[in-house]
Each structure stands twice: as C-alpha cells, then as structure tokens.
C-alpha cells in the first residue's frame, strides 16, 4: 500500500552539543518514521530535544551541535553526510521547514509575491506568468485571498503571515514538512485557523508532516501519530487515539494529565523533579528522577522501545 510507504525514516539518530562544559546529549538514538500523508507529532517539554531532532532531519544542526550517529532517510535515501550542495537540492524540494516564529522571518518591507517568487526561483525553473499562477494558487491553497499577493508582510496579521509561510513551505511539493511549533505565539482563535489550514493542505496535497509541539490538546486535534520525547530520548510512539486512550509511559500520562480542561474542574496534579544534567545522563532510565513508579531496575538498565501492539511503542521498564 502506497500510504504505508515510509517517506522519512530516522534510525538511531544521536546529536550532541559540544560545549566547554562537556557534550550535551540532545538526542539519543532516536528511531522514528513518517508515512506518506501522515502527520507525526513530536512532543515534550522545552529542552527535551525535539527541535534538535527536527533540525537534524534537515541536516541543519547549528554549531556546536553535531550528528554523532544514525541515519536520516528521505524516501529511502540516507542524507546524513551528504555534501552541502546535494543537501541544498533536497531541502525545500523534498524537505520543507516551517521554523518556529516563521511569520517573523518574513522581510516586512518586501512584498509577499517577491518573497514567495524568490523562494521558488531559487529552486525551480518556473518563470513569468506560470510563476505568478503558481504563487496565486499557493495562496489559495492556504486560504489567503488573491490580494495578499501584492501586499507587504507588515500589512498582514500574525495568522495570515503564518499561512504565507505554510504556502512557501508547500511551494515545491515537498515530501515532508517539518513544522516547529507552527501555532505558538498565536491567539487561540487564530491558532485554530492556522491549524485548519495545515490540515487542509495536508489532505489536499497529501504531504507528510512532522509537527513539533508542547500542547497535547493541539496534538490530539491534528496529528495521526504522537512521539513523546524526554531529555533527548524517545519515550513512547503510537497512534494518537491509542496514546490518549492508553498512555503507557508515566511521562506521557503526566503530559496528558497536565492538560487543563474547560469541560470539568479537576484537582491540579503536581509533580516535581528536575531533569538530569544532559551532559551527564544517569545510567538507566532518563526519567528516573521524576517517575513515581521508579524502581531499582530503572536506575540500572535503559529501557528500549517495545511494541505494545497496534503500532504503539513504549520505552519503560514496567512493560519490558
């Protein structure tokens, strides 16, 4: 089945940041795949390494970070260690990025059409009327009216700018889009409009997405599968319904429990504990300092991802 085709595969990916105080393990042997037309959510709290994973998929880890192991396959081809020239061809055409705060990266004094056309010209031969057609179609795809074509970014609201960024990301029909918190810093109503746009684009173009976020509520609404990260490690991966229905990992449970509801008042669940020093991970499970179910085994042996059935994996000693 073509929809089961894996567009993106990440195998044992490890990324370290080499700081004067020692190597920070920002991503530790991450395994992940994205099927065609699928949205995979990558969640975790700040500093858990989710942006690092996204950047290493794009081969855009900035110094002093470096990929120290593993591979990233786009449509079967490993792109780790590809020369920069090759990467430039792949980026955007196969792999597009909607960076965090993308809307602020638009140059406020250059018209939308020029910014979009420049981006396309840099990668494609489309010129003249065809180019204009294409830009207008893209704007239409993200639900923006035609007049946006000749407007300046400063004339647009945050949500509209973010939709322009989405249009730019899909311009070259990429196989996969990495969206880093695409709706953060937007008001809740606008967030919903942008989220809808993303879903529309996905269903219309059949593009795959990795959506990074920290809001489990939004993930529930948008993604097909969820990958939960903690301190550079993948803790649990599974279909979104399965994750919400039966979260295996204590950390996943914590994240779901922490979502405040507008439907019912419930007592606040307070947990405490600090993440370990990422330069010096403890032996065993990385969640041991915060886990209410921690036992001796957790302090000695690092749990690996184990399938619990139904494509749902968890890395926890309880289920090993």
């Amino acid at each position: 089945m073509s929809s089961d085709q894996k567009v993106l595969e990440v195998h044992d990916l490890s990324v370290h940041y080499f700081t004067p105080g020692g190597a920070v393990i920002a991503a530790n042997e991450i395994n992940l795949y994205v099927k065609a037309g699928e949205i995979v959510g990558l969640v975790g709290e700040s500093g858990c390494g989710k942006t690092t994973v996204a950047m290493s998929i794009l081969q855009m880890v900035s110094a002093p970070g470096r990929i120290v192991g593993g591979e990233v396959r786009i449509e079967g081809r490993d792109i780790v260690n590809l020369p920069e020239r090759e990467l430039r061809k792949i980026r955007w055409r196969k792999l597009a990025l909607i960076p965090q705060g993308a809307m602020n990266s638009l140059n406020p004094v250059i018209k939308i059409k020029e910014q979009m056309e420049d981006a396309i010209i840099a990668h494609e031969r489309t010129r003249g009327a065809a180019l204009r057609e294409k830009v207008l179609r893209l704007l239409n795809d993200v639900g923006l009216p035609e007049r946006v074509y000749s407007m300046y970014p400063h004339e647009l609201s945050g949500g509209m700018k973010q939709r322009v960024c989405i249009a730019m990301a899909v311009a070259l029909n990429p196989a996969i889009i990495i969206a880093d918190e695409p709706t953060s810093a937007l008001d809740v109503v606008v967030q919903r409009v942008v989220a809808q746009t993303l879903l529309d684009v996905k269903s219309r173009l059949g593009v795959s997405m990795v959506m990074i976020g920290h809001d489990m509520g939004l993930q529930a609404q948008m993604v097909d599968r969820v990958a939960v990260m903690y301190a550079g490690n993948l803790m649990e991966v599974g279909p979104v319904e399965s994750i919400f229905e039966q979260p295996y990992h204590p950390y996943t449970r914590l994240l779901i429990d922490a979502i405040p509801s507008t439907k019912q008042k419930k007592p606040l669940k307070v947990t405490e504990g600090l993440t370990h020093d990422l330069r010096n991970p403890p032996p065993g499970c990385c969640f041991q300092f915060r886990c209410p179910y921690v036992h001796d085994e957790c302090r000695q042996k690092r749990p690996v991802l184990k399938e619990m059935g139904n494509d749902h994996y968890v890395a926890c000693a309880q289920f090993n």
Binding site: P20, V24, A26, G47, P64, E272, L274, H276, D277, L278
Partner: protein
C-alpha cells in the same frame, strides 16, 4: 507539597545544562582578549620605550636629516628606523607619538562617554521634554560634519597641547554614547528586573546605578573603545591637516610633517609608513575589543547557542 521538598534536594545539586561556562566568564572573549593584548602592547611600547631610547630625539633638530632606516644603505645604527626632514628620530617619535595619540583618544572618548551617560540616562529614564530636548540636540549634532567644524574651530583656537585637542574632539564625542545609552536605558527600563526593582520600592537613582549600569557595562565599554578609535582618527585627521599642537609628536603630526615635506615623492617610506602601521594596529586592537565587547554584551553574537 511535601513531595516537593522531599525529593528535590538530591537533584538540585545537579546544574541544569542551559547556559554553559561562557556566561560565567564573559570577559574571556577571544576577540576582546586579543584586542586588549594589542592595545596593551602598543601602550607598553610607549611606556617602556623611554627606558630604552632617548625620547629627546623626537624633537626637531635633534638628529641628522633624512636618514633611511639602519638596514638600508646610508642608514645609521644610531637611528634604527631612520630620521626625517626636521631632524627627528623616527623610533623616538613613535615612542612619544603612540601614547600621545592614545591619550587624546582616551581623554576625548571618556569625556564624551561621561556626558553621554549623563544625558543619555536622563533622556532615557526621565523621558518627557528633557528627552525631547536632548534627542533633538543630539540628533542635530550628529548630522554636523564634525571634521569640518573641528577644522574651523582648530583654525581659531591655538592648541598648546594634546589636552586641548582632546577637549575639542570631545565636543563631538558625546552624541554617539548619548544615543546609545538612551536607547539602552529605554530597553532596560522595560526589563523585568527593573520592574521588579520598581515594585521593590527601589529609588530611581539606585535602579539606574545598581540594576541598569552593570548590565550596560559591556555596551559602555564597547562604545568607549569605539569612541577612542573615533577620537584618534579625528585627532589624526586634524593633525594631518596641520591643525594640531606642535612640538610633541603624535601619530597624526608625524603624518602631517611627512605630507608637508613630500615624503611620498621623496620615497621616504620609513617616514609615513610607521605611523600609519601604528594607527592600523591601534584601530585593529580597538576594533577587536569593540566587537568582542559587543559579543559579550549581546549573547546572540556569541559562538554558542543554547541547547533546545
């Protein structure tokens, strides 16, 4: 809450990974250190030079004329870097001239900075009409072509020594720092910790001195080093036009004499090149210090990004 206290102590000993050592030793910025060393060496050249060389040779009529450097035919070991047409020894001139130029730069820039701190913090913190007046004056002074005015002033004021020169240069050294400090104060005023201090009933002066100034130090230092370069350049310009004080050599004065005596057509490279090299070295030093300080002041420019 009991759970909080019970298991927190064990982990608290572990430092979080964010903000690594760079933050702790910000002044150890490579560019800043390199620049400081360069400036220190030039200073030492001027300070220690007189111990090894007779600086009286820096004055007119103290040496034979037009000797090339010692390693060139016709040169003399008594004047290793040669002499020029007024009978001044080049080595002695550099030993006297480099600190003289540095002094003008430091004095002018310091005065400019002091005025800038006064006006800039007043404008930024007090706001209102004082801000309006200070801003208007600063902006108009900044648009004046300073060298032209300096030339005009220098033509009517006799400059007996480099201090007078520094004072005149200081006339144009304040608007830059004023602007910078004003904008710094304006942004700092919106900072959370300034608001915290306000909420803690801290008086205005204490907020400015205790909360704001330490955070502006790198900016102030960067502006100061930049200002020193600017003042030295201004001094060199005036001196090279022959508008400076006479007798005690400065780098600009050496260049002025070289120009007036057509050192270029005479092929007396040893006359005009050393002061220019000295200036380039000094500017490079201050430039490195300035960008180093910029990086210190502005963590975004630092080589390390925080781990996400």
């Amino acid at each position: 809450m009991a759970a909080v206290a019970s298991n927190s102590s064990a982990q608290l000993t572990q430092t979080p990974a964010r903000r690594t050592g760079v933050r702790d030793m910000p002044w150890l910025n490579a560019k800043f250190v390199a620049g400081s060393i360069v400036i220190l060496l030039t200073l030492l050249f001027g300070l220690l030079g007189p111990l090894f060389w007779n600086t009286d040779l820096a004055y007119t009529a103290s040496s034979p004329l037009n000797l090339p450097p010692a390693w060139v035919e016709g040169g003399s070991p008594d004047h290793p870097l040669g002499t020029e047409s007024n009978g001044r020894d080049m080595l002695a001139q550099l030993i006297v001239g480099i600190p003289a130029s540095l002094k003008v730069g430091v004095v002018a820039a310091s005065i400019g900075m002091a005025v800038g701190i006064l006006l800039g913090s007043t404008a930024g913190y007090v706001g209102g009409w004082p801000d309006h007046i200070i801003r208007t004056i600063t902006d108009s002074v900044i648009t004046i072509p300073s060298l032209m005015v300096l030339i005009a002033i220098a033509a009517y004021v006799s400059m007996p020594d480099t201090t007078a020169m520094a004072l005149i240069l200081a006339l144009f050294a304040w608007p830059g720092p004023t602007r910078l400090i004003r904008s710094q104060v304006l942004t700092l005023r919106e900072r959370g910790y300034v608001r915290m201090a306000l909420l803690s009933n801290v008086p205005t002066l204490e907020i400015m001195l205790v909360e704001m100034v330490p955070n502006m130090l790198p900016w102030l230092a960067a502006s100061l080093t930049g200002g020193i370069s600017g003042a030295i350049l201004g001094e060199t310009g005036l001196e090279a036009l022959g508008l400076g004080p006479t007798r005690v050599p400065s780098l600009g004065m050496i260049i002025n004499y070289a120009l007036n005596s057509t050192a270029l057509v005479r092929g007396m490279v040893w006359w005009w090149l050393p002061p220019i090299i000295a200036l380039v070295v000094i500017f490079t030093g201050f430039f490195l210090m300035t960008i180093g300080l910029d990086e210190i002041a502005n963590p975004r420019l630092r080589g390390y990004s925080n781990v996400k």
